[in-house]
């Protein structure tokens, strides 16, 4: 029972490959592998970190998170120093991830609430062939479960394919695939999005202007994501493409299928990252073995290393400090950072002329990385909550808070376990619980209170 497909079908194929890539990439949230570094670099680092740690002004929320994790950490008294520094860093990075996740969600919610296009039902993707317009509840449930199975198997197949390609070093193929899909995202989906927004606000725009805008937007985006560019611009582009992808999902996934898919994908995430033979774990481990970055188009990184730009001119003079950096870099478990960020130069930072500045700047290198699939699915959850026909903002707000708390907890666990963790399960579980309970339980309560103007 295949429903009618509109002509955006063909474009969804590579898009979904892209999606599956990105969702497949959701788990790598690797952390600062402080504990694994060799001892000779440890002193240097701890010394540096202590300097920054004490000078950093405490951020309330950040420190709460740090403090929450401290309870568990107390048992392992041996790693006291390492843990303390890790947690101080962890707290800061929680905030560094809150901002982009929040921005992505805000963009998605704002679009859903204002642009009608994304809440209209205009067909389904071929990945969810079963329609939900059935008369009985049981049939609808069955259809959504079948849709989910198909979607998840597509994602699993794509992920395994990607991992196999990566293992056999077919880099050109992977790069071509990624470039093609980000090309399509940046140009086609942005064009559609722009068109719908202009339609909503009844603003006329001529084709030459549109071509100019889209061309510039897309070209700069391709360069930023796949090559070099300012970090913040790259982050902004990644947020934008995540939001666009999430909007596509919100539009084309039928109601119940969307919720079941969200649940299933967080289970899949858990399995794929934590099981020894899970495809995502193998991907991360292979990348670490080869000291290569995971593809830049799939991961959002909150910080980068600036050092390589400085390393070029004067290797001899840098001597010892360079040694330190290299040693540390080599041992850093997410040493993919080095290769990746070696391609990204921070144009605003002038090359320092002495080793001390070099060391200070290395503080920034320990960013946290979050897969784009995570952004997408968080935004899908919040967007679906915002798209509910009842138009209730409380539900959206509740899901938003739930997801952020889930993210906090995940980052906490990351600081404790220090290896790649799936970012989806905890947040999505909280989000789902809060969505259903707020929509069904809290909404009538708050509505009744508001109508009598009672306050609790």
């Amino acid at each position: 029972m295949i429903t009618f497909m509109n002509n955006s079908d063909s474009e969804d194929e590579p898009c979904n490959e892209r999606t599956s890539l990105m969702s497949a990439e959701s788990p790598p949230v690797p952390s600062y592998q402080d504990g694994l570094q060799a001892s000779e670099t440890r002193e240097a680092q701890t010394h540096r970190k202590r300097q920054t740690g004490s000078s950093r002004s405490p951020n309330n929320v950040a420190d709460e998170d740090a403090s929450d994790s401290d309870v568990r950490v107390r048992e392992s008294a041996l790693e006291n120093e390492e843990e303390e520094l890790t947690l101080k860093y962890g707290a800061k990075h929680v905030i560094m991830l809150f901002v982009p996740v929040t921005l992505c969600m805000i963009v998605v919610v704002a679009t859903i609430k204002s642009v009608r296009f994304y809440t209209e039902k205009n067909g389904q993707l071929i990945y969810t062939p079963f329609s939900e317009d059935t008369p009985s509840v049981g049939q609808r449930l069955l259809n959504s479960v079948l849709n989910t199975i198909i979607m998840i198997s597509v994602i699993v197949v794509m992920t395994v394919f990607l991992v196999v390609l990566y293992k056999y070093r077919c880099y050109k193929f992977i790069h071509g695939w990624l470039i093609l899909s980000s090309f399509m995202l940046l140009f086609l989906f942005t064009y559609i999005y722009l068109g719908e927004v202009l339609k909503t606000y009844n603003v006329a725009m001529d084709y030459p202007t549109v071509i100019l805008i889209i061309w510039n937007f897309g070209a700069v985006g391709m360069i930023c994501i796949h090559w070099k560019g300012p970090l913040q611009l790259q982050q902004a582009y990644l947020i934008m493409i995540s939001a666009l992808m999430a909007l596509v999902f919100i539009k084309y996934l039928p109601e119940w299928s969307a919720w079941v898919i969200l649940g299933a994908i967080s289970i899949y995430d858990l399995i794929a990252v934590l099981c020894p033979k899970g495809p995502l774990r193998m991907l991360v481990e292979t990348a670490q073995e080869r000291n290569e970055p995971i593809f830049p188009a799939l991961i959002y990184s909150s910080a980068m290393i600036w050092t390589v730009g400085m390393a070029k001119p004067d290797m001899a003079a840098k001597g010892q400090s360079q040694q330190t950096w290299d040693a540390e870099d080599g041992r850093e478990n997410h040493s993919s950072t080095s290769h990746l960020d070696s391609q990204i130069l921070d144009t605003s930072s002038p090359a320092p002329s002495h080793p001390i500045a070099l060391e200070e700047m290395e503080e920034e290198e320990r960013g946290v990385k979050l897969g784009l699939g995570d952004f997408i699915f968080y935004s899908v959850l919040v967007g679906k909550a915002a798209a509910t026909p009842s138009g209730d903002w409380n539900t959206t707000l509740a899901c938003f808070v739930a997801i952020l708390i889930g993210l906090c907890l995940t980052l906490l666990l990351l600081a404790v376990f220090k290896k790649a963790l799936p970012a989806l399960p905890i947040s999505i579980t909280f989000g789902l619980i809060f969505y259903f309970s707020t929509d069904n339980l809290v909404r009538p309560f708050m509505d009744t209170l508001a109508s009598h103007q009672l306050y609790i």
Partner: protein
């Protein structure tokens, strides 16, 4: 914020069950159930504030144990303030946001005979509640720290009183005026507890160093 949300969830669960289990046509019963729901929710919020206090206490102990110089980078008073602000913001957001969204659309306030000041009074009430939650956070945590149970009881009683006064709506004098008075009292009390005094205030206002 999360803790407030969870308390709201549980209280609405209780209310929902109660409503479903009762007769929807019986007006006084529904009103009674609503009052019960509100009071229960207030008590649950305060209970969750206490739980949050316990959690933060443990966290501070952990932080102190791990820090280099034996004192935590964030004090319990700061945490109290943050907890209060979190509760207040969440409570305010949940009260106001649907109202704000509807206010953007077309319509006339009070066209069916309700009060015309609905939006205004809602705004003021929400503001006073947010402030009150902040002050209650400080008072509550201070009471827990120093084992002064009467402070905690005072917070709970104040919360119940403010919620109860909203039952007078739309007779707004009955709800807004007491709430603002209570807020002023709580503000002064919290200020005193946080180490402020009349001299500090005067110095601050006159910009003396």
């Amino acid at each position: 914020a999360f803790f407030w949300l969870v308390s709201l969830l549980l209280s609405s669960l209780i209310w929902f069950i109660a409503v479903k289990a009762s007769d929807p046509r019986d007006e006084p019963l529904q009103k009674g159930l609503l009052i019960f729901g509100v009071m229960f929710s207030v008590l649950l919020q305060e209970a969750f504030r206490f739980l949050y206090y316990k959690l933060l206490r443990k966290a501070i102990e952990g932080l102190v144990a791990l820090s280099e110089d034996g004192c935590s980078p964030i004090s319990i008073q700061q945490m109290a303030y943050v907890a209060g602000v979190g509760f207040g913001l969440m409570s305010g957001a949940f009260s106001m946001i649907n109202l704000l969204a509807d206010a953007l659309g077309p319509g006339t306030v009070g066209i069916h005979g309700d009060s015309q000041l609905y939006f205004l009074t809602s705004a003021f009430m929400t503001m006073v509640l947010i402030f009150l939650h902040t002050f209650w956070g400080i008072l509550f945590f201070h009471g827990c720290e120093n084992r002064r149970w009467w402070e905690i009881a005072a917070v709970v009683v104040m919360h119940l009183a403010v919620s109860g006064s909203t039952f007078c709506n739309p007779f707004y004098v009955g709800s807004l005026v007491p709430s603002y008075l209570l807020m002023a009292i709580a503000a002064v009390w919290a200020y005193m507890l946080s180490g402020g005094s009349a001299q500090n205030l005067r110095r601050f206002l006159l910009c003396k160093s």
